[in-house]
């Protein structure tokens, strides 16, 4: 056990001392995240879309429309309650204001309900403040006009979780998935082939070190890389782009670890197939490039042609990226993303089976 512990510690040291590999594993995904978010993101600026539901003969509805429409940054939408609430759920509205069609005959207060997207805290608190202010203004106006006999307007607030439409919320989980894939497939395979080319594997073979100790210690050190990648990328996304991880951090890490395992076993399999570091990275690219584009890392692939869908649906990266999005963006629990866990576990098992057949200690 002492042997295994020393080997693991040495592996972790070597992994984190290899500057070039660290650049590709950590710095490069950060650069990609920041650049893509800046170039393709909606570029910040405060824009709010509010849906108003209500009968236009109702003076409160009319007043709300006018007041909201006067604000420069607000885009006003109108529709039935069902339509508007669906639009909110899909992320097309920041808030929906529902005003009863009939004003009460007596002097009872008029209940106005505001539904808003609570997923994005910064955005929602601004929207809530804005709409509350508008409603309060209407309330005061009514009081003035009818001097005490006008209806009192009461605002109920109801937060819901909507799907984010911000590009960064889509991109960040994608970049994490991408980083785990490349460090696993290309990083691990070129490291292993390098060891073999330099006869380091053969030298280790001449000691009593066991194969499982070697493999497992490398798996563990690579999982530390996975942890670092998740921590740093989530950190950058949170600090620079206000990305909010809705779901549990534990689920996120568990999924990332399994994804990391799937891709590092693919890396081991590639190292058995390739004879030189160059051919390892060539094979690695053949495996990772199609996934990079077809698994919806940079843009959604739900709109891809029908014949592509079966291909998209067998790529392990699709499941890792979707799973990470479900956790980070939608806050889904582990039970709802079981498919992603199962697919990544199967990928690991298949790649492990291939690696045990192809792994070679020596060049010949």
């Amino acid at each position: 056990m002492n042997r295994f512990r020393s080997l693991t510690i040495a592996n972790i040291k070597m992994t984190f001392r290899a500057r070039q590999a660290l650049f590709w594993n950590l710095a490069f995904p950060i650069i990609m995240l920041v650049l893509l978010a800046l170039v393709l993101g909606n570029g910040g600026g405060f824009g709010v879309t509010v849906g108003v539901v209500g009968d236009s003969h109702n003076p409160i509805t009319a007043a709300a429309r006018q007041a909201l429409g006067d604000i420069k940054d607000v885009t006003l939408k109108t529709g039935s309650e069902a339509e508007e609430r669906a639009a909110l759920k899909n992320g097309d509205r920041d808030a929906v204001l529902v005003i009863p069609g009939q004003l009460p005959t007596s002097r009872q207060p008029v209940p106005v309900t505001m539904y808003y997207d609570q997923t994005n805290l910064t955005q929602s608190s601004a929207v809530v403040a804005l709409v509350s202010q508008v409603v309060q203004g209407i309330d005061e106006h009514m009081l003035q006009q009818r001097t005490g006999i006008g209806p009192q307007v009461v605002l109920n607030q109801q937060g819901i979780s909507a799907v984010s439409t911000r590009y960064i919320d889509f991109l960040a989980p994608g970049i994490i998935a991408f980083a785990l894939m490349t460090s696993g497939v290309i990083g691990v395979s070129s490291r292993m082939v390098g060891y073999r080319e330099k006869r380091i594997l053969k030298r280790l073979r001449a000691t009593p070190m066991q194969t499982w100790e070697f493999v497992l210690s490398n798996v563990i050190s690579q999982l530390f890389v996975v942890l670092a990648q998740v921590a740093i990328l989530v950190g950058v996304a949170t600090l620079l782009f206000n990305v909010h991880v809705v779901g549990s951090m534990g689920t996120l890490i568990a999924l990332a670890m399994l994804g990391g395992l799937a891709f590092l076993t693919i890396g081991f399999a590639v190292s058995g197939l390739a004879s030189t570091v160059e051919s390892a990275s060539a094979i690695g690219n053949v495996i990772t490039l199609p996934m990079m584009f077809l698994s919806g890392i940079y843009f959604p692939v739900s709109g891809a042609p029908g014949w592509l869908q079966p291909i998209i649906n067998v790529l392990p990266l699709t499941y890792l990226a979707n799973g990470l999005r479900d956790v980070m963006e939608k806050g889904l629990p582990i039970s709802s993303i079981g498919v992603d866990f199962v697919v990544l576990a199967i990928t690991s098992a298949v790649a492990l089976a291939v690696s045990t057949r192809t792994f070679r200690w020596d060049v010949e």
Binding site: S6, K13, M14, R199, I200, K202, A206, M209
Partner: protein, 318 residues
Amino acid sequence: MARMLADQEVGQAVIAIAGLHKSYGRVVAVKHVDLEIHKGEVFGILGPNGAGKTTTLEMIEGLRQPDGGTISVCGIDAIRQPARLKQIIGVQLQSTALFDHLTNFELLQLFASFYQHGMTDGELDELLGQVNLTEKRNNRVEQLSGGQQQRLSIALTLVNKPQVVFLDEPTTGLDPQARRNLWDLVRQINRAGQTVVLTTHYMEEAEELCDRVAIMDHGEVLALDTPRGLIAGLNLPPIISGSTARPLSLDRIQALDGVQEARLDDTGFEIHTDNPQETLVGLLRMATELGLELSNLQIRSGNLEDVFLHLTGRSLRA
């Protein structure tokens, strides 16, 4: 089997190889080799590239599966019990690079941790001193010179205090000074009681360093003896060589007592003789008469190069 091993231990054989055979496809790398290596000796396997030295060594080290034959190292069956074998041997491979990103001391610690009886940190520091790398303790491998890397790689073979140390062409690619340093290191290891088995294609290395040498070519052991024994077995006439300021006369040299054959060039001479004493006296008298000074005067018998030439009809260097 057990009976046989016991007998070998009585005979002080630390390694016993019988009928060892290995081929790659149609190419036979090692042809039914029998060898016995004694406890405490420096044993050399000398031969040109492709002679089967490395294949033989790697089969003894448990790194290659032979097609046939038996190998016993300190009573352990190297073919069936590679795990036990690896605990008690130290292996230096031909041209291994080491892990980057670890310091030299961390590398020694890592390798020591692989063994049941690996050295302690204190012993490893002593070992670093022994291979003259104390100053480089906390440097990385890539900061070492060729000779230093080779010494570190030998230190790595010693971290389990092995009974047998295998060195595959330990001095290939080193400059003469680094080579001499390494020879000293091998002698030190051997003095400490460890059996050393090395391969080389340098005949002077085999001659300087080895107690016994097996000459190998095309997968076969052609001869096995002490370097002196191998040379003596050839019965080569001694050779007197030297140089002079002015050329000597070939006729006069051939007229000297005992001369079998003589070669001359502008300043040097080489005389094969069956009576070195008479030839030398004649040569000195002649030089005095001519008022010539003889420099670089040497008498040598044949060397391993001559032995190899005799056994294979080829030069070792070719």
